[in-house]
């Protein structure tokens, strides 16, 4: 997966952050989340991950049942 980078912007560092973005050739625009929404995003991501892990574990058990341990 491609790496992504969070930038924390506050009323105090906003000018510095935007200036740095311009300096690095990036559009001085950010898609923001509040601290509470960031927590929700992190938990939603964890729920999706847990779902994938459970589905994989279930598929593994079916595979073991029908194909045997040796084909793992």
């Amino acid at each position: 997966m491609d790496e992504l980078n969070f930038i924390i912007i506050t009323s105090e560092n906003a000018e510095e952050v935007f200036a740095k973005m311009k300096e690095n050739g990036k559009d001085p625009v950010l898609f923001g989340l509040s601290d509470d929404d960031y927590e929700i995003l992190a938990k939603n991501f964890a729920h999706i991950r847990a779902y994938i892990i459970k589905q994989n574990a279930t598929l593994d058990e079916y595979r073991k049942y029908y194909e045997g341990e040796k084909n793992e």
Binding site: T10, S34, A42, A46, K54, K64, Y65
Partner: protein, 161 residues
Amino acid sequence: MFGSAKLVMIGIVAIGLSGGAAYVYKLKADNVILKENNIKLEESVSSQQAVIEQQKKDFSNIMEANKRLQETTVTLAKEMAALDDKFNKTNSSGKKRDIGDLALNRTKVIEKIINRASANAQRCVEISMGAKLTEKEINATKKSQINSECPSIANPNYIPY
């Protein structure tokens, strides 16, 4: 007269003998059928026993699989609770962690922390989608070496302490 009585006697004995012989043949034929039936019955019993054995084996395998899936669910619930704790941990003075407040006061540090956590979380998704573990992930045994977002799948040799 005596001669005809003798003939009748011989006739009765001959009929008796042939009847006896026919009865023995019938018994032999019945015996063959009975033996065949018995063999079929034994085969049927042994195949039924094999089915019962297989059913017992299947039941045991299904129970073990369910147990493993239950363990996975419990582990995932623990990891979810650990994530919640990262955001809402209560310190010794009873104050709940406020990530927003921390980000205001220690912006760069928190930025670094959430970017590392984000990279770890992405790696967890990669692993859950089938990516192979690296040597570093396999050999991680210390808390400082693990992927704290999903040690159950990322660090098989890590035992929580």
